[in-house]
Symmetry: C2
């Protein structure tokens, strides 16, 4: 392994300037790297700390090329990128991790499911649905979940249909449908894998969603499951990323069924909302881990230093304009509260504006503190309708 690095250790090109990128840039600088961010919006959360941003879209071949040519290694904090250009750039010798070919599989939910099935990784039964039609849905059988092949995130691009009448809510795009899983819990495991094939999992977390919403509402670590289930989840996630031959950090979301079966739901080829607590709660956080992986450095320890609960801070209903943060001082007076604001200059309803991780030796305490913080902090906007 190469072990002599002239400063900077690496010039990282980061596609996407959101909060995941922001936290990655901080880790990158700590490791002696410099960063260039590609994002269409000037002053993006990541651009604010990187010090260098290329203003451009994730589908703009010229801008992607400009980024690659100014860096030693390119990575990304979101999936919705022009992979054809990335594949071409990789062919020309640019280093891009995770691999663009892998990204192009995972950004298509049908190909992702086919990959899982092909590798005998348990996942909910599914069929391709190129043109959604009631008859085809009925022959697959309700309850089902329709997923657009492309472009979905945070619940967008997903339609849950308990009964045939819900077909009215179908997405009129190339899709797959899968068996609705009446899960007992939703779990997630962050996995890191480097170029040497070294692979390490973070402790299993439990994701709680509000009924009818798909934005993560509360995350708990460790998950309240048996040690066997947690170990099985970590082993399944590791096997999945090994099968992918992925290099970087990946989020593997799973269902725990009522009969304690684990089914892989989705793979995110990037750092993930369900790994935010690793900043304070684990020895090596997911952002530094991702960089270690893509730079060919040894992976760091994922041991949990403290139980943790995490909530997202979302823009209020109706919030517009310059954000106004209320209840911050009250929240910070609670022991173990770690606040992260993302530096977004504009708030919109449900926009992710920050998150809070609560550390407490007692996970139930951490959870109730986090729920209390969610009541305390409100992010509204100065612009009133």
């Amino acid at each position: 392994m190469k072990d002599s690095f002239p400063f900077p250790v690496a010039r990282i090109g980061l596609i996407g300037g959101g909060q995941l990128g922001r936290m990655m840039v901080k880790a990158a600088k700590r490791l002696g790297c410099t960063c260039v961010v590609l994002d269409p919006y000037p002053g993006s959360p990541a651009g604010q700390v990187a010090g260098h941003q290329i203003i451009g879209g994730y589908h703009d071949p010229a801008k992607l090329r400009e980024l690659a040519e100014s860096c030693d290694v390119v990575t990304f904090e979101l999936e919705n990128i022009d992979t054809e250009t990335l594949i071409q750039l990789e062919r020309e010798g640019h280093r891009i991790n995770p691999a663009p070919a892998l990204l192009s599989v995972l950004q298509d939910k049908l190909l992702q499911k086919q990959f899982l099935a092909h590798n005998d990784i348990p996942t909910a039964e599914f069929v391709e649905m190129p043109e959604p039609e009631l008859q085809a849905f009925e022959s697959f059988g309700f309850p089902l979940v329709q997923k657009a092949r492309r472009g979905g995130y945070d619940g967008r691009g997903v339609s849950v249909m308990p009964v045939a009448e819900d077909f009215d809510n179908h997405l009129p795009v190339a899709s797959l449908v899968e068996r609705f899983v009446d899960a007992k819990k939703e779990l997630a495991v962050m996995v890191a894998r480097n170029q040497e094939g070294e692979c390490i999992a973070y402790p299993t977390v439990e994701m709680c969603f509000r009924p009818g919403e798909n934005v993560l509402d509360l995350l708990l670590c460790p998950a309240a499951v048996s040690a066997e289930t947690a170990a099985a989840a970590e082993a399944l996630a590791t096997r999945t990323i090994d099968a992918l031959q992925g290099v970087g950090v990946f989020g593997v979301e799973m269902f725990l069924t009522r009969n304690d079966q684990l089914l892989v739901n989705e793979i995110a080829p990037r750092t993930h909302n369900s790994g935010h607590h690793t900043i304070e709660a684990c020895i090596t956080d997911q952002f530094e881990q991702h960089l270690r992986a893509i730079l060919g450095l040894p992976l760091g320890a994922t041991d949990l230093l403290s139980p943790a609960a995490m909530i997202n801070l979302l823009g209020d209903t109706g919030a517009r304009g310059r954000p106004v943060i209320e209840g911050m001082a009250a929240a910070l007076s609670i022991k173990g509260v770690c606040l992260h604001l993302y530096g977004k200059a504009d708030v919109t309803p449900y926009r992710k504006m920050g998150h809070v991780t609560v550390l407490d030796p007692d996970l139930d305490e951490a959870r109730s503190k986090a729920e209390h913080v969610r009541e305390l902090i409100k992010i509204s906007g100065e612009q009133h309708p």
Copy 2:
């Protein structure tokens, strides 16, 4: 307490762009603040992450004014600043923390000692020495330590004189001399105090120096002292900062004498090298804590999550030019190693280029890992003499 903050929560003006500033800027952004750094060198470690730097000296009244006028609150990461200008700016209504008057006391080692004596805070016996003369040193008695009133740091401005013959090494400046303390250990306690007078100490740390050097060589937390001694050190440090009425984070360095007496050696009115481990090892790190204190926010928990050992990464003897970091991958392969590089584009001998904190449930293990890392990582320069 005010609890509604339009974004940004505060615009922080930071005097000094070194590593302490760099780590503070990261914490500031997490709390929803923006930062402007004042530093004479473009691309300073803190400026790289702040995104906004005023190029100018710490003694330039016009630049200090420019900084104050562009910010809501001014703070600093070093002591050697023109306090007269700061006092004038404060009079005009600018918010500056810690208070410039307090800084002007602490930046003069004689006034600092007089403050300690006046407040019955135990410290080594001392006398003023406006013009160093052998006869006066002899009448005070050897062994002694001569300290320049102004401008010293990391051992500069300090001359240890075991016997009268060492007078040849005296500093020809206005000074004080103090009794040489044959300390069993050197301890330090970081203390935070906010505007409401809320005051909290971090766990006592042990500072190890190499014989004859004054740059911190190894830091251990918790210190290997009895629980009573640790509690006494924390109480003494808290009493010291309470007496100062300081607002911000302060480092209180102490001697533990052979008969287990604690003597305050020096107070740093800022975040400190002996608090670096708090980033990973404590719930709230010293940098966020400082910001909470100066912004009038509640202080955070200082609980230790894991024992920790910290070493500085210094430029090699003879190192010049662009830094070259060797042994980084080897160091990162050791479990619990957390690396921090400061982004300095030039290395010089003994320059602080970064630090490593090692977390381990066993402090002795953490220590031996840290010592091993010190052997592994070498920071040389591309320019050879």
